[in-house]
């Protein structure tokens, strides 16, 4: 075992890249041999592997940086491991690429994976999926593989395996969760198969499978079909309208350790990574495609957030927000400008940070209380202070409240839209619509997160919740770290984060208007301090509490509290909305259920022809022959 260490002393990007993909995969396969009894040992091994992968990805991020600055992409055959006979002539399919974008994604994948695994080790035993750690490691290895592959066939292999791990990471025991698992696998698998069509078309049109080697104009039906086929894959993975419907179901039924890992962070990173590849590398977008993307983007933002508003189950609520946020990224990429792309990527990273944080917080609350309905909870802020503060920060980030990171990236998207308005074409002339809907989506997000924070952490505490304690250190620490990231990325957005992380990826760009995140943060801080001073100066004891009574009768204490979800009924009962909501609840708009209905209808029609009567079957055979004869002779 001396040889690997010798190489370790002199790490090259190529070697790190191979190890990054191979080690988690190999360790994952190895863990299948370890019985489930030794759960803790498996967790520790997985942690060691993940930390090592994190170290490698950091190494990759820093070491290959120079080459990016020279403007060239590091592309290596990376076949030193594989040059035995089996893989002869397979070299052209085994190409990997390390550029600014993939390095960035790899780094954040590692960070998120480490934090989520840390949380998972002490997370609720009963809720965890059997074999979690091996599937976790395989997910990790395949994610690295997908992000780093340059060959599209290699890419779709890693990408497809991620569908299996997603399927295996949801327990799927009872009726509801097995239905969610099935739906997830069908939608993801369907999108992967559609992507195959796109890849085949690309291959046919360009004679190459290298992501770096393709740059197609979207000007005829074949190129547009290829573009759309690949877009379906990216949208389904990231969870954008109309292929999003697996995300809420998955989030409702999967344990926090799984939903924070895949739908909230890694799948988002991957889906948006591939979206960036499609829109920037593989294709040159036309005005029509930009318009389509913007429309899909705003539809995703608005419909998902409207659905989120009416949810009682906080995990489902988060699931819908996981969809809604993707809309912003799609809008960013749909703009096609450098600001837009940078904003989309920035929002992708931010979203992964706060959304996985929110799922972890939700998991913590569920572990301690065992309830998943907001109406059953309340007043947990004192009992679970770290979870509360972290959730508050995540909630403000996702709602785009300055100075947190969500604001920074959303602001960039708004700026991008305003810039875009200066251009020609129908998509540009409608800029005010995109801007208005994006801002509205943000406001509605805030509205629904008030429900989340208010309903779970604030308000009156039910007596049975008195014994609730904060989750263990290993569970709250990842949340705290993620919250810290959210604050730092927000406060230092313009000064540090964007120039250091995103300018190398997309190239230099300028902001429209004056905006310095640190200065804004300072202003926010000052105003909060001023507010506090006024509050304290005014004297905080100047209110009184009274027993509530109605018509002279003292009301029962318990009945006097109003569960947070009740306030949102206005939305669902409002005129036109009420009908739409009802149909949406009945899944009338779900592409999965719509196509299922159509397929089963056709299936029934065809089956009813199979009566089991033998003479009929003989007639079919003869008829088949006669028809063929008539056509041919």
């Amino acid at each position: 075992m001396n040889e690997p260490l010798a190489i370790l002393a002199e790490p090259s990007a190529c070697w790190m890249l191979q190890m990054l993909i191979m080690i988690p995969l190999a360790a994952g396969l190895l863990l299948f041999l370890v019985p489930e009894r030794f759960r803790m040992a498996k967790g520790i091994l997985a942690m060691a592997v993940t930390l090592y992968a994190g170290y490698l990805s950091l190494g990759l991020y820093t070491s290959a940086k120079q080459m990016i600055m020279q403007g060239e992409t590091v592309r290596q055959g990376c076949l030193t491991l594989f040059d035995f006979d089996l893989l002869q002539k397979a070299g052209e399919y085994l190409t990997f690429t390390v550029d600014g974008l993939s390095k960035l994604i790899v780094l954040f994948v590692s960070i998120l994976a480490i934090l989520i695994l840390l949380y998972t080790i002490v997370y609720n035993r009963t809720a965890k999926v059997p074999g979690y750690y091996q599937w976790f490691l395989i997910t990790l290895g395949c994610t690295y593989g997908a992000v780093l592959s340059d060959n599209l066939i290699l890419f779709i292999m890693f990408w497809g395996i991620l569908g299996i791990t997603l399927y295996k990471l949801i327990p799927g025991r009872d009726e509801e969760s097995s239905a969610a698992a099935k739906k997830t696998m069908i939608l993801i698998g369907a999108s992967d198969t559609i992507m195959l069509l796109g890849i085949a078309l690309l291959w046919r049109l360009t004679d190459t499978l290298s992501i770096n080697g393709i740059s197609l104009e979207t000007n005829n039906i074949l190129t547009v079909t290829a573009f759309l086929a690949l877009l379906v894959g990216s949208f389904t993975k990231a969870g954008a309208f109309p292929f999003h419907s697996w995300v809420p179901d998955y989030a409702t039924n999967a344990p926090a350790s799984s939903s924070a890992l895949l739908p909230a962070s890694l799948d988002k990173l991957l889906g948006i990574y591939f979206l960036a590849r499609i829109t920037n590398d593989l294709f040159i977008m036309t005005q029509g495609i930009k318009l389509t993307m913007l429309i899909i983007g705003v539809i995703t933002i608005i419909t998902a957030v409207l659905m989120a508003l009416m949810q009682h189950d906080y995990k489902r609520l988060l699931g819908y927000h996981a969809v809604s946020q993707v809309g912003y990224m799609i809008v960013g990429f749909g703009l096609g400008s450098l600001v837009g792309i940078a904003a989309g990527l920035f929002h992708m990273i931010n979203n992964a940070l706060y959304k996985s944080g929110l799922f972890l917080a939700a998991g913590a609350v569920e572990q301690r209380t065992g309830k998943s309905d907001i109406s059953d909870l309340g007043g947990l802020s004192g009992a679970m202070p770290v979870t509360f503060v972290a959730s508050l920060i995540f909630a403000m980030s996702i709602s785009g409240v300055p100075p947190f990171n969500g604001f920074a990236s959303k602001w960039m998207i708004y700026q991008g839209i305003i810039d875009f308005g200066a251009g020609d074409g129908i998509a540009s002339s409608l800029w005010i619509v995109w801007l208005g809907l994006a801002v509205l989506g943000s406001a509605l997000t805030l509205a629904s997160f008030i429900k989340f924070i208010g309903g779970i952490f604030l308000g009156r505490r039910e007596p049975w919740l008195d014994k609730i304690r904060e989750v263990p250190f290993l569970m709250w620490a990842p949340m705290a770290i993620l919250a810290l990231f959210c604050v730092l990325f927000g406060v230092f957005a313009t000064e540090v984060v964007i120039p250091r992380l995103f300018t190398p990826v997309v190239g230099a760009f300028t902001f429209n208007g004056l905006w310095s995140s640190s200065f804004v943060s300072l202003l926010v801080l000052i105003s909060i301090i001023l507010g506090l001073l006024i509050y304290l100066a005014a004297g905080k004891k100047k209110f009184r509490t009274e027993e509530s009574f109605i018509g002279g009768e003292t009301v029962e204490k318990l009945g006097a509290s109003y569960p947070a979800p009740e306030f949102y009924k206005t939305f669902t009962e409002f005129g036109l909305f009420s009908k739409i909501y009802k149909r949406a609840e009945a899944k009338a708009f779900d592409i999965y259920d719509l196509s299922k209905g159509a397929v089963l209808w056709l299936s029934e029609r065809l089956s009813s022809a199979h009566t089991g009567v033998l003479p009929g079957y003989v007639i079919w055979v003869c008829a088949g022959l006669i028809i063929m004869l008539l056509i041919m002779i």
């Binding site: 089996l86 299996i164 698998g189 046919r204 299936s603 033998l614 003989v618």
Partner: protein
């Protein structure tokens, strides 16, 4: 090169069948071990022949009758790249089915008949695959078909007997058409040797007879291959047979006596013409699309699997058909080769995953006692191995990486797109998605879908021989993906494609010209 092992492929199982029958009367344990030994031997020599004779073909002349003036007069057994693959398939799936039967068939009476018929069916299939003249193909086809009629009815319950009746009557209709076509061929070409027929027909023929012969053969073998609209016997027959037999029927028989013969005849006996290739492609596409819609509505596991066989065979025929169209047009021969390779690859893969799925269904029936998906649930807890292997098979058939079905579907879709058959590519994608959906349904209702508290505790995993077969096939499903690697593809699949693409090579090596 003459491979002396070739006649053993037919002789050993044939001898095994009769010896089993006789010896089994005296010692009850003999039949199963005898059948195992026969299949083990066949597996050994088939893989040995594949490895050794990988790049060349070998022709065995029965009785050593040499051609006279270039006219072959003896009986020829031809072992080339294509038949070698089929032989491996037959013996591998056969071996695993027999292993599985050792436990599974213990519930049935008269085991010696079972193993005897099993060997007879293997002998018939090997004969069809090796035979170099069309009349012997017919004879061996009947041997395997008749033993399969008996095997389908092996349970002798109401359903089995009805299924076998349908199977026999439709099978006889097909056999009649095949015999009729052979009569026409003999009348117009005065020979029955495939290579010789090719030579005679290419010298000149009456086009209308030629087409009639082709269509009669296509109908006859299309029925054996369960192409739509000739498929109606399949769901009943494949679901009523004992599960190891279903695995053989769906996994191997429809390929050996259906698909293989269609491909062999239309490439090596007839000239590839555009009209016929379009008909074949259409049949394939139709089977692929209609089969999957019929499958997804089923609640009986084995019927669901049986309908999927129709659909998956549609992929094979469609892909080969695309290759034929391109060959007939004389354009893009690389794409044609890719399409044919994809079809053959998918055929191999289908044997592995569909065989495995039927064995899984048998395991479920063995432990739970039902085939209705609505009456099961939560089996993942009691039957972890069955659950895991069936997930492998389900993902394979649905074309999810890294399993074998993904790669063959990838090749088929790429070939369809490259050959400018965009609609067929789209159809293949849609069918693949519906396949995935129906297998997710199978996974959900069979193995999950029940609250942990309500799971029946009396469900036990099946005995070791059955587990061994299932695990082996699951591993095969993974290993077959390696054939997608260019190096392996060229050594294993390309000889088969070459013998089909290079149309005259087959004739020349037999007639010696």
């Amino acid at each position: 090169m003459m491979n002396p092992l070739i006649p053993l492929f037919v002789a050993v199982p044939l001898a095994g069948a009769f010896l089993t029958m006789i010896l089994g009367r005296f010692i009850t344990a003999i039949p199963r071990y005898m059948a195992l030994a026969v299949l083990l031997f066949l597996a050994f020599i088939s893989f040995w022949s594949l490895v050794v004779g990988g790049d060349g073909s070998s022709v065995y002349t029965l009785g050593g009758w040499e051609p006279v003036d270039g006219v072959p007069i003896g009986l020829y057994l031809v072992h080339d790249g294509f038949s070698a693959l089929l032989l491996c398939l037959i013996s591998l799936v056969g071996l695993l089915s027999v292993t599985y039967s050792v436990s599974y068939m213990a519930r049935y009476t008269s085991e010696n008949y079972f193993y005897s018929l099993f060997c007879l069916m293997i002998a018939g299939m090997n004969g069809v695959v090796l035979s170099g003249d069309i009349f012997n193909i017919y004879v061996f086809l009947e041997i395997s078909a008749i033993s399969s009629y008996a095997l389908v009815a092996f349970g002798v319950e109401k359903n089995e007997l009805e299924a076998t009746l349908k199977y026999q009557i439709l099978g006889v209709v097909a056999s009649f058409m095949i015999l009729f076509a052979i009569g026409f061929i003999y009348w117009s070409a005065k020979t029955l040797n495939i290579a010789d027929i090719r030579t005679v027909f290419s010298a000149g023929h009456d086009n209308r007879y030629y087409l009639l012969i082709q269509l009669l053969l296509l109908t006859g073998f299309g029925l054996k291959a369960a192409m739509i609209p000739f498929h109606a016997w399949l769901p009943d027959a494949h679901s009523s047979a004992p599960s190891p037999i279903s695995a053989m029927l769906s996994g191997v028989l429809i390929k050996a006596v259906g698909i293989y013969v269609i491909i062999r005849l239309f490439f090596n006996m007839f000239e590839v013409t555009e009209g016929m290739s379009i008909v074949i492609t259409t049949l394939g596409a139709l089977s692929m699309a209609v089969g999957v819609f019929l499958a997804i509505g089923q609640w009986d596991i084995k019927r669901l699997l049986a309908y999927h066989s129709i659909s998956q065979m549609g992929y094979v025929v469609m892909s080969v058909g695309i290759g034929m169209i391109l060959m007939a047009r004389g354009i893009r021969s690389e794409v044609a080769a890719l399409a044919i390779t994809g079809g053959i690859f998918h055929m191999l893969n289908h044997a592995a995953f569909k065989g495995l799925l039927f064995l899984n269904a048998g395991a479920i029936e063995y432990s739970v006692g039902t085939r209705d998906l609505r009456e099961m649930g939560g089996l993942a807890k009691g039957m972890p191995v069955t659950s895991a292997t069936s997930l492998v098979a389900s993902l394979s058939i649905s074309g999810i990486p890294p399993f074998n079905g993904f790669f063959s579907k990838l090749i088929i879709i790429v070939a369809a797109v490259m050959g400018r058959f965009y609609f067929l590519a789209l159809l293949a994608v849609i069918v693949s998605i519906i396949t995935l959906a129906s297998f997710m349904k199978f996974q959900r209702y069979a193995f999950y879908n029940i609250d942990p508290g309500k799971i029946r505790n009396d469900i036990k995993e099946v005995p070791a021989p059955m587990l061994l077969s299932m695990i082996t096939l699951a591993v095969v499903c993974l290993l077959l993906s390696l054939l997608a690697l260019p190096g392996l593809r060229e050594t294993v699949l390309s000889p088969a494609t070459d013998i089909l693409m290079d149309q005259l090579k087959y004739s020349s090596q037999i007639t010696g010209m």
